[in-house]
Subunit: 310 residues, 2 copies
């Protein structure tokens, strides 16, 4: 399949219903979007590479879905609503038409779920692994945007969902926590937020570094995913280690104004009964990370998780 | 070098002077931009892959420069001024700190030349070739945007600069024809425009397809670059073949309202004396492509150039 025919196919496949998309879809021209109703534009770019983020044996449709979800998750975690996306694709020669179309179906399916219009893209061929870059833009939600650099000592540290073992399948179907961040911004003062992509321990460390703060987590409070429990039977690691270190949970890590937590905890089940929201610790002015056990004993929490080394 | 330290370095290296950049730089959070003065947002994404767009022996700084220029050229060719950029980078393991920083220097140097702020990015590691995705956004120039799908029978077909043989070096230092498109939009009715990246013959064919038109080019009029002349001594191809088929010229291919050409031709030297602007043919209602020789004889022009096959 040539570049032209892939783009022609995508153009026919996509129904853009957003009246703000003036021209778009495909690498042929740049997309022109009506931004007159936007005050602030949120934009983020996210790259996934075969061999690092997914294996050759993963179905193309799942890869497309994941690429869109991972990029949208970045915006949601910043307190913004994704609206438009572009996808650049480096396709391994020989993969063929079927792969590219299945990939496109997954990409569009996730975009449709989140009410995102795919407005542009680029395709190129490569002899190496497939690489995918999705750029998403949108605008801050009411109460947003939120950065990861503004956590305050005393803040309650929360996570959505449960953590660890995403490699067993969840990493291919990340749930974008858009409704959750919208509800949190609605209910409380959110001081900092990010999505957990490289493991709780490492991402929390980054957030605390950016905020010039530290944290103490309660080991017992950290919500363990069924996959973390399952995986620990074979891995020789505890479920807690999986929850602390495994990558690609795509759950929200949130620092909430201390006083707001009781009200949020009380009201949450009305808002989003199907998403667990758990207080796992507290931000400290002292800059190190600690993990406290049931007995009150602390151990230092090392910032280890999934690292991209060059 | 870890992802964190590359981003920390970029953040320190970049001086953002655009007051509309509210937060930005790095993958840590999404960038938040003040779009209140923007009516229409132009956005485009462009991927370059090692082995396809550049070789391992190319200095990292040149690759960074080219990546930014190629993406900015997409916007310029659509009649838009680039303003903000994001760069996602898949780095081959083992390339190391020095490479990444040199790449960053090239990227920033081109961005500074064009008054573009680098507001975000992402880095990941890969075992395969380096892949780079630059997304650029901005806004239409006065008289813009321009698509490639609106050429009209009778339009004068123009190109900036000279064509062919960019592999001899020019492909690493693309000149973004921003002043040129601004001048053209100022002087005349530009019906269609694109940048020539996969060769004049193939890109003209794409433009004519999108416009449901054809074209006749005058072989003698096509401006041959010194590199095309030089390369033809070894390649066994004529300089004209290089000008028609070689990729990565990054020159503008423009369809101008027929009646406007004499005035544009007359005034051009005052505007941009250093950029040749040449009329190379005419748009036709008949949908095929023809190349006319000095003797008036026509031959069909096949849409061959640089193709990305999957």
């Amino acid at each position: 399949m040539s570049e032209h025919s892939l783009i022609a196919w995508l153009r026919n496949r996509i129904q853009i219903t957003d009246p703000a998309v003036l021209t778009g879809v495909g690498p042929d021209d740049c997309a022109i979007l009506d931004a007159s109703a936007m005050n602030r534009l949120a934009i983020s770019t996210d790259m996934l590479v075969e061999g690092t983020h997914f294996d050759q044996n993963i179905p193309a449709q799942a890869i497309g879905f994941k690429a869109m979800a991972a990029a949208a998750s970045d915006l949601a975690a910043s307190g913004c609503r994704p609206r438009w996306a572009l996808c650049a694709l480096g396709l391994r020669r020989g993969l063929g038409t079927h792969w590219a179309r299945e990939f496109g179906e997954g990409l569009i399916s996730c975009a449709e779920d989140l009410d995102i219009s795919l407005v542009g893209g680029d395709t190129t061929s490569t002899d190496g692994p497939v690489s995918i870059c999705v750029t998403v833009c949108g605008q801050p939600l009411a109460g947003g945007p939120v950065t990861r650099g503004n956590a305050k000592p005393g803040d309650a540290i929360l996570v959505t969902g449960s953590l660890g073992g995403s490699i067993q399948g969840r990493h291919l179907r990340p749930v974008v926590r858009l409704q959750e961040i919208e509800a949190l911004l609605n209910l409380a003062q959110v001081n900092a937020c990010m999505d957990i992509t490289d493991g709780l321990a490492l991402d929390l460390w980054r957030m605390m570094q950016e905020s010039s703060t530290g944290a103490i987590l309660e080991a017992e409070a950290i919500p363990l995913s069924p996959a973390a429990l399952d995986l620990s039977k074979e891995s020789g690691k505890s479920p807690l280690e999986h929850a602390l270190r495994d990558g690609e949970d795509f759950e929200l890590l949130v620092c909430l104004q201390q006083d707001d937590w009781p009200e949020v905890a009380g009201k949450w089940p009305e808002f989003l009964p199907n998403t667990p929201l758990t207080r796992i610790g507290e931000v400290t002015s002292e800059k190190s990370l600690w993990l406290a056990g049931k007995d009150g004993q602390r151990q230092e929490l090392l910032p280890q998780g999934y690292e991209h080394d060059f």
